[in-house]
Symmetry: C2
Subunit: 346 residues, 2 copies
Amino acid sequence: MNNYINPKYQSKLKKRKSRSVKTLFSRLIHGDKVALSQAITLIESEQQKHQKTVDELITSCLPHSGQSIRIGITGVPGVGKSTFIEAFGKTLIQEGKQVAVLAVDPTSSVSKGSILGDKTRMQGLVKEKNAYISPTASGSSLGGVARKTRESIILCEATGYDVILVETVGVGQSETAVHSMTDFFLLLKLAGAGDELQGMKRGIIEMADAILINKADGENQKAAKKAQMEFKRALHLYPEKNSQWIPKVKCISSINNKGITEIWDMIKAYQKSTIENGFFNQNRFEQQKFWLFDSLNQKLKQNFYDHPKLKSKLKIYLDKIEQQEISSFKVADQLYQYYLDSIKEK
Amino acid sequence: MNNYINPKYQSKLKKRKSRSVKTLFSRLIHGDKVALSQAITLIESEQQKHQKTVDELITSCLPHSGQSIRIGITGVPGVGKSTFIEAFGKTLIQEGKQVAVLAVDPTSSVSKGSILGDKTRMQGLVKEKNAYISPTASGSSLGGVARKTRESIILCEATGYDVILVETVGVGQSETAVHSMTDFFLLLKLAGAGDELQGMKRGIIEMADAILINKADGENQKAAKKAQMEFKRALHLYPEKNSQWIPKVKCISSINNKGITEIWDMIKAYQKSTIENGFFNQNRFEQQKFWLFDSLNQKLKQNFYDHPKLKSKLKIYLDKIEQQEISSFKVADQLYQYYLDSIKEK
């Protein structure tokens, strides 16, 4: 391949690119939803030149970001997340808010089709001028998906959205990822038969700032009240949160729009109290540090384990470990030394 | 420093060292307790030549290891771990077993003095011909301490000890480390007032193969029975273990030697059933893989974060992140690239 580019043309290219970042940025901060869609499409692109554009765009947007409240929403499929977001989003818009909805789903990909269904859901909200529903960030690794979503939050905020809803179906560690990029974490549950806590994924309750018992309507109401009691009792067992916020358990009915305004009031109260005690901003900085170290650790591991020669070496060593010919620790020493040597040789 | 060594002398040195490994090894597999102590002292040494000797010794011992049952024991200070080990160890010796006791305590160090007290505890057991009590593996990082303990297990087994008790006070992640190097995991508890589960470290109950309510004697008996019920109920909420073993909750009195033989019977039953269903050996191989990847990941991180120039760079970048001048992800990209370049330059 001929890599030569005429210097004159090169400078033209540079100008064009920088102009495109500049234009996109300028449209974004003037609230242009189409520009936001274009920018988020660039985030999804695997092309290196697009990634560079995104990098520059994010850097420009950063000073214009951070003014929203970021709300994480999780719950198993069927719990009614879309219906809740639809009702909650409309309430927010009535309050004069601009609402962006993002979704994290590490298992979906463009080719496989998102399991969240995106714009086919929340049909009412999607028509609202002051709502933006982003396609689900896709990718095979949670790290990649999380990065895309984090970057989308920045772009949405720069565009003027002041409530960001980040939804996840809770596959693998995706709840932890969403919890690490939001200010307030909502867990949606259904009142079911038997013990509400059984089979509960470890740590989810601990992350929740509020548990919403959805579909608390009609015949479900009694069971919902009972579930509410059980969750309240369970929450009692956990140590106090750093935010000093005491997690709430509420019964709601998304389809009847019951209890939805109260959720927004609760989140406003949370925001007020955590801004006052300093947790809100401290937490956001901690989250940024978390993402820095998380990406660094991902890179370190990926670069090591994707090393082509190392993979076959690892396989041979694992056999030797199983045959008790060598200790795990000695293998680690040897593989690591081999890796360092191979980087230096490059 | 003059690094020149007369080749004649060098070969002599090599012989002497290899002879010393050979002698030590030969003494070990003939059950020499003094040799075991010497070898474990070498493990604790930070000197590189000692580490090399240890490496060779471990490799020689590996084919002679693995024949024991490894039992992890945890519980908060005051729960009576030493008294239990004393009673349990004597029972094992009466059954014709040879018992080695190791301890993991990442906070203790030789200079600070071990908080476990080592040989001043278990005064009866320490006098037994068929018992060996190792000094607590010390060090500032859990990774280092865990490695030393894992290596000590190999040496103890090669020396002929067939029950290895690995004790921890449960500081930080030390319980997870001990769980990852043992076949059976015992959690010691006391019957207390109020809710037994409150304040419980997350995940500990999930790791336990048995919970022992200690000091179930005299006036404590009623409370112990109640605690037993509560733990049984709590265990019920957890999913089935891969071992297919249903965790047990037992009341014991170590000072009265009550219920101690039953614990050994239970562990024998566990060993029998997990050897039959294949879990026992599969689990040991999984543990070896865990330690391999754990040490590799530690090395990757350590080498990166201990990089002298990177530390100051990181500090500057963190400030920029806080000022919203640059995104966490871009910083990760830049720091990582800088790191790769600096390895290549070396």
